[in-house]
């Protein structure tokens, strides 16, 4: 189980992978899986308009 850093809701994650973006089911904020075992979540970074390379 992981905890949403914004609203502290518990988030059930099955085989999350590092860097994956998940949404908190309660407050809806976008989170980034910054590490696994144990799973750690942080707000996903905002992205400026991307043209890609």
């Amino acid at each position: 189980m992981a905890v949403c850093p914004e609203c502290e809701a518990e988030i059930e994650l099955k085989e999350a992978i590092k860097g994956e973006i998940v949404q908190c089911p309660d407050c809806g904020v976008e989170l980034e899986v910054v590490s696994v075992n144990p799973v750690e979540l942080a707000p996903a970074p905002e992205e400026e308009e991307d043209w890609g390379e």
Binding site: G19, E20, P45, E47, D50, W51, G52, E53
Partner: protein
């Protein structure tokens, strides 16, 4: 002065291309060359057991995922293989070419993306070790120094980030920024397609002319690599380049044909 960009995709005969380019230069056309190398990079990556990994950003733009190891392969191919092959061929044709990457003398400098958000295998992800970025600054002094002393610059990615790390940048967009910075009158982008096609699968649906104020409309319907080329063209035109031409790099006299406007001319 004209900036010519030749792509690195399959089916382009670089030897024939360099012969024609040399003839144009020797006949007095003042050219700075930029080139790519994506196809050869894919081939070498696969041979080295690290097949290329392409990711699609949330806004649907595809790019090569370039971690440090991929960047080393990318640089070996773009600089060590393609760039020096072109310089060798131009020297053989009597053109005194000097090859430079964007790292050399911080010729092409820009910001490296701290992260990119992508969709991969259906999952949305944040990728942080992607050495990719955008060219924002050009060392015009270095290019001018070489040109004023009789050398023909042959320029290639990678560029260099403000933190002095090599970064993968889009060759078409780098050529557009370079053309604007150098005050070039023309930017010619040659690839393995005849130009901007109304229908990608129909080579005869070539759009031959676009007025610059219509370019946004074309940017919308263009897809994939061509979308980036059109965006680059729009940027160059906005920064003072008078004309941008998309033309075919294949076959004989590719450069001469493009100089005569055979392809998609935007002005």
């Amino acid at each position: 002065m004209i900036v010519v960009k030749v792509g690195g995709s399959e089916g382009i005969d670089l030897e024939a291309f360099c012969r024609d380019l040399a003839n144009c230069i020797k006949s007095g056309v003042d050219i700075v060359l930029v080139h790519g190398g994506s196809h050869d990079t894919n081939v070498l990556s696969a041979k080295l057991g690290k097949p290329p990994r392409f990711v699609t950003s949330l806004s649907g733009v595809e790019s090569r995922y370039t971690d440090r190891e991929t960047l080393a392969i990318f640089t070996m191919v773009y600089v060590g293989k393609v760039n020096k092959y072109i310089v060798e061929q131009l020297q053989k044709q009597g053109v005194n070419a000097v090859g430079l990457s964007g790292i050399d003398g911080r010729l092409l400098e820009g910001s490296r993306k701290e992260f990119i958000k992508v969709v991969e295998d259906g999952k949305r992800k944040v990728l942080r070790d992607d050495y990719t970025g955008k060219v924002e600054k050009v060392n015009v002094h270095l290019v001018k120094l070489l040109r004023d002393n009789g050398y023909t610059p042959v320029i290639t990615p990678p560029a260099i980030s403000y933190e002095s790390e090599a970064i993968n940048v889009d060759g078409d967009r780098a050529a557009a920024v370079l053309a604007a910075a150098l005050g070039a009158e023309k930017l010619i982008i040659l690839s393995n397609v005849p130009g901007l096609l109304r229908d990608v699968n129909d080579a005869s649906s070539l759009v031959t002319e676009i007025r610059r104020d219509q370019i946004e409309r074309y940017a919308d319907f263009a897809k994939g690599r061509m979308k980036k080329k059109v965006m680059g063209a729009a940027e160059a035109l906005a920064e003072g380049v008078r004309e941008v031409v998309f033309a075919d790099a294949r076959g004989e006299n590719a450069v001469s044909r493009a100089l005569e406007g055979k392809g998609t001319v935007i002005r």
